[in-house]
Each structure stands twice: as C-alpha cells, then as structure tokens.
C-alpha cells in the first residue's frame, strides 16, 4: 500500500465523459456535411474548410500562449468545431484572407476575449459570419452554383442567388410565388433534402445535417429540445403565413429544407455554451430562433435570417435561464 492514501470528497467514480470527447463528437457529427460540401463545391470547399480550421486552431493557440499565457487547450477540439462551422457558413469562393479574418474574429473576439471555451455568450462562428456579412456584403452573398464532383463541369465559375434570395427578390417585384417556384433556381424538395442548394458550404444538404444531428442525439451530446422547437416553430409560423396568402409567403417545407435553417437548428443553436440549461428553457430558445428566422426571412433586409435569429436568442440565454428552471422535486 502506498504510504499516503488519497482523500477526496465523494463521489469517487466518474462517467467516461469529458470535454474532449464531447467536442470531438461534434466534429464527427459534422463529417457528413463536410463530405457533401466537398462533393458539391469541390476544391474550393476543401480549401475554405482547411483555411478556416487551421486559422482557428492557430489563433486559439497563439492567443492562449502569448496573451493570457495559459497552456493552450487547442486539443479539446472546440476550435476545430468553430473552424468547421464558420466555413460551413461561407460561400465556397470567398477570398482566403476574408476566411482568415473571420477566424480571427470568431476565436479572438467572440471566444477568447470572453475567457475562452465555456465563457462566450455568442456562438463564435456566427459572430464571425455576421461580421463578414456586414463588412463584405457582396463577397458574402455571391454564391457559386453547385457542381457535383461526378457531374459535368460545364457550369464552372457561375454564381447565382440562393433559392431564398431568388424568391425574395421575385416577391419584392410582385411576381406570384406559384410562378417563381417553377423557375430553375428553385430546386425540388428531393434535391433540397439530398443536397442541391446553392448557398453556404454547409447548407447544401439537409440530410447530411440531420444525420449529424442524429449522431449527436445518440451520443447524448445534445437533446432534442432545441432542434425540434426551432424547426417546428419555423414550420408552423411559415405554414400559417403561407395559408394566409400562398402567393406572397413561401411554403413551410421550402423554409425548413433550404438555406441555413437545418444547419442552424442542428449545429449552431444547439451549441452547448450559448444555449439555455433547462429543457424548458431550451424549448423557449428554439421557439424564439424559429420565429425570428421566419420574421427576418419574410420582412427583414437579408434573404437569410438564421444566423441573426440565433445571435439574438443567444443574448437572451441568461434571462431564459433565470425564467425557465427545472421543476424542483417536492415543490
């Protein structure tokens, strides 16, 4: 027996879970989306993702080492998640220096300035996206058309609006939706699901995102509350609008399957650090995200509303945590 016994308070056993496992679990969940983005946007997707991940890792390492002089914790995987999510929120043809600048904003301002992992009130990748969108609106909204890896490559180097941008502009010009929906820019539901959306890297295939979400549910990294409340409330709100006037308001299926809604609901709104703690709070948070997304999409200046909706709801998290608590046993 060792001369000295170790004394500590109970419990003396711990679950096999730890922060690194959770973070790398999210990275694994992001792989289907990564593969589809490479499939649809080819080399440019690979380049954007690589640059974003590498620069996020570098900035986190450099800031921890030289500014607060901590031991760098880059191996925990959280910077990889930020890099991947940031890349998934960018068009594949964005100039590389903008991607690097975005990574600096995400890691430096949105994460490390608040104290690093666990302390940031806003989702770092979304802060960077919002920063880039406001600073470089043209570069951030010229979307390359998709070019599947094994399809014909004739449509190279073309850019076009996202289905949403196209529909929104059409509606603004007074063209009835039933007419707009026939246009080639609007993909069928099947291709929305399997991937054929023009847009950011990560929003091309709803199915790949759902697959990643199911993996995170299985691994108990996230619970169902936020994605279900987010997607459900967006769908219901859009359905009500669409029922009022189907020629002006886009059908709810298009709303939930296209654009960043799936990506936002599954990967961005569920970010552990920036979402509420109690199941009730998570439902309220998801509901807020869903309703705000539709409000911004329908009445806002931007065609896309997911990232702003989540950032706005991030700001409400402390309030939600205070207002929606779990029920205490016996009270």
């Amino acid at each position: 027996m060792n001369n000295k016994l170790i004394i500590s308070g109970a419990p003396h056993v711990h679950s096999p879970e730890n922060v690194n496992k959770i973070m790398w679990g999210v990275v694994i969940a992001l792989i289907p989306t990564l593969l589809t983005s490479i499939y649809f946007f080819r080399f440019e997707a690979l380049l954007t993702v690589s640059v974003a991940v590498a620069s996020c890792l570098f900035f986190e390492w450099a800031i921890q080492k030289y500014l607060p002089k901590q031991t760098p914790t880059t191996s925990d995987g959280s910077a990889v998640i930020t890099g991947l999510l940031l890349a998934f929120n960018l068009p594949s043809n964005l100039p590389i220096w903008m991607t690097i600048l975005g990574s600096l904003v995400a890691i430096g301002i949105a994460k490390m300035a608040f104290g690093g992992l666990g302390k940031n009130p806003f989702n770092p990748a979304l802060v960077a996206r919002a920063f880039l969108l406001i600073s470089f609106p043209v570069a951030m909204t010229s979307w390359p058309t998709i070019r599947p890896l094994f399809g014909d490559g004739i449509v190279d180097a073309m850019t076009g609006p996202t289905p949403f941008g196209f529909l929104k502009e059409g509606i603004a010009q007074g063209i009835p939706l039933s007419e707009l929906m026939q246009h080639a820019h609007v993909p069928s539901y099947a291709s929305l699901l399997f991937g054929a959306n023009g847009g950011s890297l990560g929003e091309v295939s709803a199915l790949a995102i759902i697959l990643g979400g199911l993996y995170m549910l299985w691994k108990r990294i996230i619970t169902w509350h936020i994605p279900v409340a987010f997607i459900g409330s967006a769908f219901v709100f859009a359905a009500i609008l669409s029922a009022i006037n189907p020629e002006v308001f886009i059908n709810p299926w298009v709303h939930i399957l296209s654009g960043g809604l799936m990506l936002g609901a599954v990967f961005m709104a569920t970010d552990l650090v920036t979402s509420p703690m109690s199941p009730k709070g998570q439902l309220v948070f998801g509901l807020g995200c869903g309703v705000l997304t539709i409000v911004i999409r329908v009445w806002g200046a931007y065609p896309e509303g997911v990232s702003f909706a989540i950032l706005i709801m991030n700001a409400f998290v402390p309030l939600i945590d205070r207002a929606f608590k779990p029920r205490i046993f016996g009270k």
């Binding site: 060792n2 170790i6 003396h12 703690m277 199941p279």
Partner: protein
C-alpha cells in the same frame, strides 16, 4: 418497470463476486468500539478501564430522544478509553477491548431457529428497538426508534423497505436478502406492527433477480408485504427517490418521508430489528463488502462491530501494492479514509479499494454549459448554478435556488465532463446556509 421520475445516472455496477457466500470473520485480539455510532446527540461511556464485559453488555448511555445505545460486541477486558480516528477523519471517543473468549449475555437467544410469531406490542417493540441500539444501516445511522414514533397529526400509510443497493460495488444487502431473507421479512412485519401500517413495499433493483424471486416467494406467507422490482438507476436508494419510485409520491421540499405518509427503512435495519425483538440481540455485528477491481479475493465478511479494518483487509488477500484510496462505503457517497487504523462501526457497509489510476479526480476545466448536471439531478436542482453561486459566496441566492434540497448523491459531479467540484461547492453552500439560517432564528 418502476423508477423515480427526475434525473438519475447509470454508473458501472461492478457487483464483483456477488454470488459468493458471506464469510464469518474470526474475532480480533483487540476490538475498537466507538461510543457514538449514530446520527444525533452523542452518547456517554459507562464502562471504565479494567472492567470485564460480555457480548451484548451495554457500554454507553444516551438520555436524548435522538440517541442510540452501543453494546459490547466482544467479551473481555476494557483496555482503555481513548480517542481514535473514525471514518470521517475526526478523533472520536472509543472503547478498546482486549478480547477474551466469546461469552455472551445469557438472555440473548443464539439459536438458529427462526422465530416468526411476534409477541410484543407496538410500544414494547419501539422500546426494544431503542434498547438494542438499532440505527438505520443504509449509511446514515439515524436511530430507528425515532422513525417508528410517528408524530401526532401525521400517520404512516406505507412502510418502504430499501433493498435497492444502488451504490456500485456493494453487495452486502444482496447477500443478506439471499441468505437471511426470512429473518428480514419477519423484521419487516415487526416494523409494520410498530407503525400500525398495513402495507410494506420492499424495493429491489432488477439487477438482483435472485433476491427479488427469493423474497417474493417468502412474502407470500407474510401479510401485506409486497416486493417491487425497480429499474436500475442511481440514486434509487435515496429515501425520497425510493418513495417516488414505489408510490409515485413526492416528499415536499424540506419535509420528511412521513409528510408523504411513508416510513423508509433499510433491509439491513429490518434484519437488525428482527434480531433485537425476536432474539433479544443488540446490534453488534453486520455484513461488510470488501471490494475493489484489483482486490485479490473480493468478499462479503460477517464481522463484529469494532473489528479493526486491517483484519478485513487481510481477509481479502491484503491491500494490493498500488492501492491509493480506501473508501468506507460505496463509490458514490462513501468517505475516503486517510488511515486504515480504524474499526467497523454500525454504518460500515463496505470497504472499497481503488488503485492509483482510479483514485484521482480529473483536472477541472471551464464549465461548457452542457446541462448534464441539470439533467441528472434527481432533485431538479441546477448544480452548475449552485456551484457558481457558492464560488462567488452568494449564499443568499444559493438558498433561494434551493441548495438545501440537495441530497448529496453526487450525480452532478459524476456526470460533469469538466470535472467541476460541483458537490463539494454545494456542501460548502449547505453548511453556510445552515449557519445563516440558525443565526436568523
């Protein structure tokens, strides 16, 4: 299958060698009997150095309502009255007895015969339970006679017997149920009679199918005893959770089980009550699980209270070389000993040895707000918040956030991926709030 509604965790069970028979350990050369072995007002020693004692002889007195007697587990001579470190790490008054032979008081029935007929009435039973020093053997050591005296204005509807043994590694309750099931059930009937309760439920988790089957079969010949199989989930053995699992009721916040019409006793306690009431035998021995992943011969040992822990450790093949932690009790709520130079008490359910690789906690990192602690807390509390409030010394808000409702089951710390010392903070919070509350009065 039934279980409690809120939270809970599933730690690895590690019920090692649970099917092995209990081994009766030899008497020690010297026994160490702590004077106070219960929760409540301390007892007073009534023997002196040089006194001759017999097995079953009263060693202490306690005139308080919440007090419990201690009887000599050995015959021999009192060597000295000393202060000795107990499992909590404090020096406590103890009687050291040089063991000579094994002479019992005459009035203790030592026969093997199982006596089922209960001749004592309600008040006589309670008096006997008090006299024989019976305390709750689930771990808290709360004097049992106090539980049996239901305060006026309230009534007990159900007797709940805890055969859950939800702590990993522990198998002593299991052995008792399998090897002495009938005595346990007579004990339950006695408790029913003392409380005037028609229905008793024995809750057993379904990882112990043999115990469930055995007691179910026996219960057919008893009146109003029902064995309830429960889904495996920690902390089902906590009394509020067990009541919830079996009856669906919730003990109101800050109240006692009796406020939900229930009295909860451990199965071991029921067995001790049987021996006290039917055999006139005080609480002087118990089963202790001595276990650990690297222990050579994991065993359940039937020992006299006061047996030095070193003897139990020798009986399982000695303490392995790389042992870094010895826990008195289970891994979730047990206390880490800083020395093996202490003795078995009424509340010693197990000794758990851990090697170097299991003895340390992980390094604490920032909270990532994963909400796992909130999801597992069986009381519906927010451990992350309570931890932060205590770290910021905001005890008033911690009180408003119901820190006092914490049952210290450790599920939050078990599940925290950042290894934050949540329960340690909450304990500090509870202690400080208790001080603040008493100042307010």
């Amino acid at each position: 299958m039934k279980t409690f509604k809120i939270g809970g965790i599933h730690p690895d069970e590690h019920k090692i060698r649970a099917e092995d028979q209990t081994i009766t350990l030899d008497l020690p050369k010297q026994g160490i009997v702590f004077v106070s072995q219960h929760l409540g007002a301390p007892s007073e020693c009534i023997v002196a150095k040089g006194d001759k004692v017999k097995v079953g002889q009263l060693l202490t007195k306690n005139e308080n309502f919440i007090g419990a007697n201690v009887h000599s587990p050995f015959s021999g001579t009192v060597n000295k009255i000393d202060t000795i470190y107990d499992a909590s790490g404090y020096r406590k008054e103890a009687i050291v007895i040089d063991v000579e032979g094994d002479k019992w008081l005459e009035n203790i029935d030592r026969s093997e015969m199982i006596k089922r007929e209960i001749s004592l009435d309600k008040n006589e039973i309670i008096a006997k339970v008090k006299e024989m020093g019976i305390v709750g053997l689930g771990g808290a050591c709360f004097p049992t006679h106090v539980k049996l005296m239901v305060p006026e204005g309230r009534s007990a509807e159900y007797l709940i017997i805890n055969g859950v043994e939800c702590e990993p590694y522990l198998t002593d309750d299991y052995r008792l149920m399998v090897e002495h099931g009938e005595q346990c059930l007579v004990g339950v009937s006695i408790l029913q009679k003392a409380l005037g309760v028609k229905t008793a439920y024995i809750g057993i988790e379904n990882n112990k199918p043999k115990a469930i089957e055995h007691l179910k079969k026996l219960a057919n010949s008893f009146e109003g005893i029902e064995v309830v199989a429960l889904q495996v989930k920690y902390p089902q053995g906590a009394e509020k959770q067990l009541i919830n699992a079996i009856t669906g009721r919730e003990v109101p916040s800050g109240k006692l089980p009796i406020d939900a019409g229930c009295v909860v006793c451990n199965i071991c306690t029921a067995h001790a009550v049987y021996e006290a009431v039917q055999k006139n035998k005080p609480l002087i021995d118990r089963i202790v699980t001595v276990t650990g992943l690297h222990v050579e011969k994991v065993s359940n040992l039937f020992v006299r209270i006061g047996t030095p822990i070193s003897m139990l450790l020798d009986a399982v093949g000695g303490v392995p070389e790389n042992t870094s932690k010895i826990i008195s009790g289970g891994p979730m709520m047990g206390k880490a000993l800083f020395s093996a130079d202490t003795a078995v008490t009424k509340g010693t359910s197990a000794l758990l040895l851990m090697d170097e690789s299991l003895a340390h906690r992980g390094e604490t990192t920032n909270c990532i707000r994963c909400a796992k602690c909130v999801n597992v807390c069986p009381m519906g509390l927010e451990p992350y918040l309570l931890g932060a409030l205590v770290e910021n010394e905001n005890f008033e808000r911690a009180e408003n956030e119901s820190v006092m409702d914490c049952i210290e089951c450790g599920s939050c710390l078990y599940t925290c991926p950042s290894y934050r010392p949540l329960l340690d903070c909450i304990r500090v919070g509870k202690y400080t709030v208790r001080v603040l509350q008493s100042k307010r009065k």
